[in-house]
């Protein structure tokens, strides 16, 4: 993908979070021996040569940095540095305008499977090319000693190819047979090894026909499909891994002797006192000892409104501390925290998808026995008819070679590669091919509310009813806080003349106070800001609670908020309904909040106030009623449900384990990604069936010719290549099809 190609701009609005501390960077970096470290950062906005130059030059100038290298394909920067002091990597990148995320060192393992596949592909390609060269000379009339020499050379070249490239198929086939299953690799392995064995026998006996080219070029073709498939999934995996981590890596522990120490999450034990700065995530469950703040619980419980907490309050791991610093006492280790409980529920919920058998496996469980039986019957038939066991054997093996599922082995992966590529360009990552097969079959879609149908970010709804001058002042004050309500108000900042703010102070859990001239302005909770006006304003919109702006204690403006719906949410729901899918909302939020969203988006069914296990039970009940359920959700509380559903989709802003559990992850804001993914999957499903039909029709013509004994190596080579090309050409049709859905538009940052 070149510079600025679609898919390279990853629009992500990650919730307010502080830059990682240098302790955290150190924890996430890899020691390289001595005092050098390597830190890997994901920088999604890198997209051209200019970015490479700017980033590498700026980072290399920093003190202690040994080298910085940008990888444009994976959009990562790896920095080698030495010394105890962590270089200001994030600040430097931020100044250049790039948002960076820390990477987990364990994710950075080199992809062994890919290099094994490419190496096998190279060896198979070399062998196939050279053997084909020699075979063409034989087909053009090389005879006698020359032919035998060519056969012997071919046999020699084929050995490394079979050992290296064929090993992948032999292992997979052996594995399937050991578990009593059948997959496409079984007939491939049988066909390839029998073809080689027979050709070797022919060569030793100076026979005329050898199938070395067939066995090796078959492996080559199939490896191309397998490698492309792997590359595509790897690309999706890298893109998903590059998203920012939404769980804490560690926390500052306050020791009894007053010292502070940064400790990884895994080493936190109950009883430790932790300091949580504003903008950090709570690492483990615990109780607040001192401090006031607001917590964003949306990713944990699905509640959209922030929760005010003070001393004594219980806090859950994964929630985001918004406004003030907190001191808390851990009550559970990380492995017993809320997060770990979700992982346990998730593992227990596993079911629906592990029972799913891929189309290719289902076809091959029928195909392989039929083919092997046909070859066996052919052998018996020729034995009876001619009594020549050598001839009968040769023809039976020719049947195996001609039916070797070259086209069938390519039919499924090629379509899925093309489909995954299309979705990748639209910002949808596909974790594996079977996910598309499962998505094509769904009849029910279940959505989480907060963070999925809505953005989990409040929006000011009564801006037009507020005096513009007051709104401007409020926006000015609000710009000093990272509370979601403040951010929503700050977005309405105008250019009106307003009194200059002298001092601004945030009172965590209550609001913001600002001095301007002689006036004291307060923006925050009604009871705190409007201390003089406890009567008289009760009848106004906003009621007793709500957020107000006050001047010297009298309320001058009330603000009403609503969780902003994701762009195109309504259109996406309509398209799903139009495609015959029924849509439900399962939410952990209150009934009132759910019904508002359900009304706005015209969704008939919603279930409010569900616990994580409740969501799983709901989905399991639907599954028992023979529905194929798609789950779309983002929160920690959705994760078990994502796993329980037949297939699942998560937005890029989802919790870490949610993204890991989901089959699809969409990177852009628009919810149209969901119907698009479904439509592409259904189209792909159709093409897969066509391709399988093509492969079967090919066999219907080729098998009788083979059974009658008319197949020569030349005919086998032509037939196999032709059927493979036909299948690939059919798959490529998916690339060009125009969707009835408009592709989700890229929003904002990155490009």
């Amino acid at each position: 993908m070149s510079c600025c190609a679609p898919g390279s701009e990853i629009a992500l609005e990650v919730a307010a979070s502080a830059l990682p501390s240098s302790d955290e960077i150190k924890l996430a970096s890899r020691p390289l021996g001595g005092d050098s470290h390597q830190t890997d950062l994901s920088v999604p906005a890198v997209h051209c040569g200019g970015c490479i130059q700017a980033i590498e030059a700026a980072l290399a100038k920093l003190e202690n940095v040994e080298s910085a290298r940008v990888n444009l394909s994976t959009k990562r920067v790896s920095v080698r540095w030495h010394g105890d002091q962590v270089p200001p990597l994030f600040a430097t990148l931020g100044r250049l305008g790039y948002k960076a995320h820390l990477f987990d060192p364990e994710i950075h393992e080199k992809d062994k499977t890919l290099s094994e596949l490419i190496r096998a592909l190279a060896v198979a390609g070399f062998a196939a090319g050279n053997i084909m060269l020699l075979s063409v000379s034989v087909w053009s009339g090389a005879e006698g000693a020359t032919r035998d020499l060519f056969h012997w050379i071919s046999a020699l070249i084929a050995i490394p190819a079979l050992a290296f490239a064929g090993g992948i198929y032999f292992r997979s086939a052996a594995n399937a047979l050991r578990h009593g299953r059948m997959n496409m690799d079984v007939p491939i392995a049988v066909g390839v090894s029998l073809a080689y064995a027979m050709s070797l026998y022919e060569t030793i006996n100076q026979g005329e026909h050898a199938y070395f080219d067939a066995s090796v070029s078959l492996l080559f073709f199939l490896l191309i499909g397998r490698t492309l498939d792997h590359v595509m999934r790897e690309q999706a995996r890298t893109a998903v891994n590059g998203l920012s981590r939404l769980a804490a890596r560690g926390a500052v522990v306050l020791r009894d002797d007053g010292t502070r120490e940064y400790v990884p999450v895994a080493e936190l034990v109950p009883g430790m006192r932790l300091l949580i700065a504003a903008g950090e995530r709570i690492p483990v469950d615990g109780d607040v000892i001192s401090g006031n703040s607001d917590l964003d619980c949306s990713i944990v419980s699905g509640e959209s409104a922030p929760k005010a907490v003070g001393a004594g309050a219980h806090v859950q791991a994964g929630t985001l501390n918004l406004t003030g610093p907190l001191t808390m006492q851990a009550t559970a280790a990380a492995k017993d925290s809320f997060l770990a409980e979700m992982v346990r529920l998730m593992e227990a919920a596993e079911g629906g998808r592990s029972r799913y058998r891929r189309i290719a496996d289902r076809v091959s469980s029928l195909y392989a026995p039929v083919v092997h039986l046909a070859a066996f019957v052919t052998f018996l038939g020729w034995m009876v008819a001619s009594g020549d066991w050598h001839r009968a054997m040769t023809i039976a093996i020719a049947v195996l070679i001609i039916t070797c599922p070259c086209a069938l082995g390519l039919a499924v992966p090629i379509v899925q590669v093309v489909a995954a590529r299309r979705l990748f360009e639209a910002g949808v990552m596909v974790k594996d091919g079977s996910a598309m097969e499962r998505l094509a079959a769904i009849d029910t879609a279940v959505f989480d509310k907060t963070g999925t149908l809505t953005l989990g970010r409040p929006k000011l709804v009564n801006a037009s009813a507020i005096d513009p001058a007051m709104l401007a002042i409020a926006a000015d004050i609000a710009a000093h806080s990272r509370h979601p309500f403040s951010k929503a108000i700050a977005a309405h900042g105008g250019s009106a003349d307003q009194p200059k703010l002298l001092s601004v102070r945030e009172e965590p859990g209550f609001g913001i106070e600002a001095l301007a001239g002689d006036d004291v302005w307060r923006l925050g909770r009604r009871g705190w800001a409007g201390w003089k006006a406890r009567t008289g304003s009760e009848g106004k919109p906003g009621g007793y609670g709500g957020t107000v702006l006050s001047r010297n204690g009298s309320i001058v403006a009330c603000f009403a908020f609503e969780d902003a719906a994701r762009s195109d949410a309504k259109a996406a729901i309509q398209q799903l309904k139009g495609a015959g899918v029924s849509v439900d909302i399962l939410s952990g939020d209150t009934e009132r909040a759910c019904s508002e969203v359900a009304d706005a988006l015209e969704i008939d069914n919603f279930v409010p106030a569900l616990l994580p296990s409740g969501k799983v039970e709901w989905i399991e009940a639907l599954t028992r009623a023979d529905h194929k359920v798609l789950m779309v959700g983002d929160g920690l509380n959705d994760t078990p449900a994502l796993r329980a559903a037949h297939v699942s989709i998560a937005p890029a802003t989802a919790a870490d384990i949610g993204r890991k559990a989901a089959d699809f992850v969409f990177l852009r804001e628009s919810l149209l990604a969901v119907p698009l993914a479904m439509e592409v999957s259904r189209r792909a499903g159709g093409l897969i069936r066509q391709n399988i039909a093509i492969a079967i029709v090919y066999n219907a013509f080729a098998v009788p010719i083979a059974i009658l004994g008319h197949v020569t190596p030349l005919i086998a080579a032509i037939a196999m290549s032709a059927s493979s090309l036909l299948v690939i050409g059919n798959a490529l049709r998916l690339q060009g099809f125009a969707t009835t859905t408009t592709a989700p538009s890229a929003t904002g940052a990155g490009s």
Partner: protein
């Protein structure tokens, strides 16, 4: 026939040379950032001596 005795080994040797070249390039990490490599050729580093 006599020409084949040295032509075929020569052809195979050249092919094997290409194959081993590819495998070496693969293991030395030259395929890890194809897009980056394409862009890097356009970058004009001023501080070449420092690097």
């Amino acid at each position: 026939m006599t020409t084949l005795v040295y032509l075929v080994p020569a052809a195979l040797f050249l092919g094997a040379l290409g194959l081993s070249g590819f495998l070496w390039a693969l293991s030395s990490g030259q395929y890890e950032d194809l897009h980056g490599a394409a862009e890097r050729i356009l970058i004009d580093w001023d501080d070449k001596l420092e690097r």
